[in-house]
């Protein structure tokens, strides 16, 4: 990977970035969903003079003989973990410290991190998910100094990253967002063309028309409605938000789910469900991957893993696969879920300085650039400067995943991340509401009312 730390502040980077992006962005239709022109897109990612490579890092000296236990989710692509380990080794050599890495399946990290917080022992660093830091902020070291330094140096944090990493209540950074596996619309190019569209439309009503046509052509779509943590939560939250729905107001108190916007979203989902392959009501995260690769479905929502699995095993499907952002509904702006991953340093660590230093090191350009490259589009950058990386444009099919960072909204929307939003997510509250309607267990109004009761129970605590 070409080192780019010698760039002048912003100008050249942005020109290069815009030029390199043209091929990939031309097919994305991003401008049609509210992000404006390519220049505006470049600015949205990486405003002028926001990259300051000469900025000195805060003076943090790792404790002598430090040994860190780091718990992280296992890589979605093999090269991710290899590069992370290489970077870790570099840090060990530079500091003389030790790191004992532990990788767990991504769904298992949250419970283990919770246990670590509860008992006050275990890994020094946990690279966890979503609202985790907001569940046990008192157990975590203040990361403000490093977060502000990295933000100022690398073009700033994306809004959604800041919303997850920073506590507005405590006025400090609780964790460092390291990136976000993004979930986008995955589709079969030839079948969409056969249905009469160049690519899946950017508006919800048109998108539904396409799905109906695909179903008529015997190429149904498939979106998970079982307790699929990633895929199920992401498409149902998108559907709720894009019709103007939300679980709670900004005050984190007023329950906002039982409103006409939610009912509209549920009615839309019910129609969309009619175009799906039978069985999605029980789908967990792996189901849509398998169905897509088997040629059973034409459209689903997923990370880039389907594309890479297809490249490895079914090249013709990979050639016929592409990605676009989720369509936009009446709300008029893109709103998507990102699987935000954040690194936390626990107060029980005997080596807090080493832990902070390690994380800062991992997010610096010489390490972060090759790591994001190695994730092959699976992990979207958390700092804006890294939107220029070659990985996002060398294959135009990667590019929507880069731009997803601009469209992501916290799952707690319109509230802020915290124990209540974590409880609502942990209970699959939004997902179940959609599943209830799609499977005919409840009418949209009944489902919205039931969700309101459950949310009221969670938020009154």
């Amino acid at each position: 990977m070409k080192a780019k730390s010698d760039r002048s502040a912003s100008g050249l980077t942005r020109r290069e970035f815009t030029k390199a992006s043209v091929a990939g962005l031309a097919s994305l239709g991003i401008s049609s969903v509210g992000l404006g022109s390519l220049a505006e897109l470049a600015h949205a990612h990486h405003p002028e003079k926001s990259y300051n490579p000469g900025m000195a890092p805060p003076r943090i000296t790792p404790e002598k003989g430090a040994s860190l236990r780091v718990l992280r989710w296992s890589g979605f692509v093999k090269t991710d973990q290899e590069l992370w380990d290489q970077n870790t080794k570099k840090w060990e050599e530079q500091t003389g410290s030790k790191v004992l890495p532990e990788y767990l399946s991504w769904e298992d990290v949250r419970p283990k991190s919770a246990m670590t917080a509860a008992v006050g022992a275990g890994p020094d660093i946990v690279v966890g998910w979503y609202d985790d830091p907001h569940l046990y902020p008192d157990k975590l070291h203040d990361m403000t100094e490093i977060a502000e330094y990295l933000g100022k140096k690398y073009g700033g944090w994306y809004d959604v990253m800041r919303q997850y990493g920073y506590s507005t209540r405590l006025k400090r950074w609780l964790a460092l967002p390291i990136g976000a596996p993004a979930i986008q619309i995955n589709y079969r190019v030839s079948w969409v063309k056969e249905a009469g569209w160049e690519k899946p439309p950017a508006k919800t009503d048109e998108f539904l028309k396409l799905c109906k046509k695909l179903k008529a052509n015997n190429h149904p779509v498939g979106f998970a409605l079982g307790h699929a943590v990633g895929d199920g939560n992401s498409w149902t939250h998108w559907c709720l938000w894009t019709f103007g729905g939300k679980t709670v107001e900004k005050d984190n108190k007023t329950i906002a789910i039982n409103r006409p916007e939610t009912v509209n979203a549920l009615e839309y989902a019910k129609e969309l469900y009619e175009t799906m392959i039978p069985g999605t009501a029980s789908w967990l995260d792996p189901h849509n991957n398998k169905a897509f690769l088997a040629g059973e479905i034409s459209i689903t929502n997923n990370g880039i893993s389907i594309y890479y699995a297809a490249k490895a095993q079914f090249p013709t499907i990979a050639d016929d696969t592409d990605h676009v952002p989720f369509p936009v509904g009446p709300v008029g702006r893109p709103m998507e879920v990102g699987l935000i991953s954040q690194a936390m340093v626990f107060k029980h660590s005997k080596f807090p300085n080493a832990a902070k230093h390690y994380l800062m090191f991992m997010l610096e350009e010489p390490q972060y650039t090759p790591w994001i490259d190695a994730t092959r589009g699976y992990v979207t950058q958390s700092l804006r400067y890294y939107s220029h990386l070659d990985v996002w444009t060398r294959d135009p099919k990667h590019t929507p995943f880069r731009d997803a960072a601009l469209r992501m909204v916290p799952l707690s929307y319109a509230g802020t991340p915290g124990p209540q939003s974590a409880a609502a997510l942990g209970e699959y509250l939004v997902l179940d509401m959609f599943a209830d309607v799609c499977t005919g267990r409840r009418t949209p109004k009944e489902a919205a009312k039931a969700a309101e009761e459950r949310l009221a129970r969670i938020y009154k605590k």
Binding site: A118, L135, I277, P278, A281, R441
Partner: protein
């Protein structure tokens, strides 16, 4: 008495006092039982009482809870998902245990009459019980797959169905599917347990009944069944306890879906406490399992006592 003799006597009296202390049955018994009590205390009693305490607090992950009395329990009683889970748990337990009992007893009777390949067949019957639950759950998850189910594939190819069976997508079918998985796994426990009981029955009792003119059904109903009844009760009680507190099968196959149709107390407690971070409420859900487990334990103990 010289000095040497005094020393010997002194040492001797010290030793015998020490030994005498340990010769007390109560002291020695207590010492022997102490390690077991400590282990039970640390690994069973403490977590249990801690769980009970948690259920009366508003503890969330990473935070210290406050005592809130019965609030968690009251909140659960007003929660429609909790009631759905309660119905699911009872349905799952009652149907699965009865099926396991009937099939296990039938299998035990057949195995008891077999003369050839006894060892091999018993080993085969035990397989579902030996296989790790997570492993068999994954196998069922595949078999019930909405797209790739081999059951659907065979039936489709045979022309018996026109579209794939949505095993886990339809709420009632999903409930039936997880019950089938549980029955498949649990039948061997009944079969082998009851087989052991059947083999202790004196053949002369059955023969005497036959000579007296008792038919097959009468011999089973009036001789075999009463003799295996104590074992049957204990096996059923244990199975009820395990089925009622099941977690792995449902968590792996459905995660409680579709639309919460297969949630059991165990899976809902995990979802609320670990995934949702609400320790207090999760503990309260777990404690609803306790009365059933307690009743089961009492029944078992009573039967064991009666047998003694």
């Amino acid at each position: 008495m010289n000095r040497a003799e005094t020393a010997v006597t002194f040492r001797g009296s010290t030793k015998s006092a020490f030994l005498r202390f340990f010769e007390h049955r109560e002291v020695l018994g207590t010492l022997f039982v102490l390690p077991a009590i400590l282990l039970l205390g640390i690994f069973l009693a403490y977590p249990f009482f801690f769980g009970v305490w948690l259920s009366f607090t508003d503890t969330i992950i990473g935070g210290r809870g406050r005592y809130i009395g019965w609030t968690n329990y009251r909140s659960l009683l007003q929660d429609s998902l909790f009631w759905l889970t309660t119905r699911n748990t009872f349905l799952y337990t009652i149907v699965a245990v009865w099926l396991k009992l009937a099939m296990g007893l039938a299998l035990a009777l057949i195995l008891n009459r077999l003369v050839r390949f006894k060892g091999l067949l018993r080993a085969i019957v035990l397989l579902p019980w030996i296989v790790p639950t997570a492993f068999s759950a994954i196998a069922f998850w595949w078999m019930y797959d909405s797209t790739f189910s081999p059951i659907s594939w065979v039936l489709l190819k045979a022309g018996w169905i026109s579209q794939r069976i949505d095993f886990l997508g339809d709420p009632n079918l999903a409930r039936a599917s997880v019950i089938v998985a549980n029955v498949w796994r649990g039948v061997p426990f009944f079969a082998i347990g009851l087989l052991a009981g059947l083999q202790t029955i004196e053949p002369s009792l059955i023969e005497a009944a036959a000579i007296d003119g008792a038919g097959l059904w009468q011999r089973f109903w009036h001789v075999t069944l009463p003799l295996v009844m104590p074992l049957l009760v204990i096996v059923t009680t244990f199975s009820t306890i395990w089925t009622f507190s099941d977690f792995q099968l449902v968590y792996i196959i459905t995660r409680g879906g579709p639309a919460n149709a297969t949630h059991l107390y165990g899976t809902l407690a995990y979802q609320r406490a670990i995934q949702g971070g609400q320790f207090g409420e999760g503990a309260a859900i777990s404690n609803f399992i306790f009365p059933i487990l307690f009743m089961g334990a009492v029944i078992s103990l009573l039967y064991v006592k009666r047998e003694e």
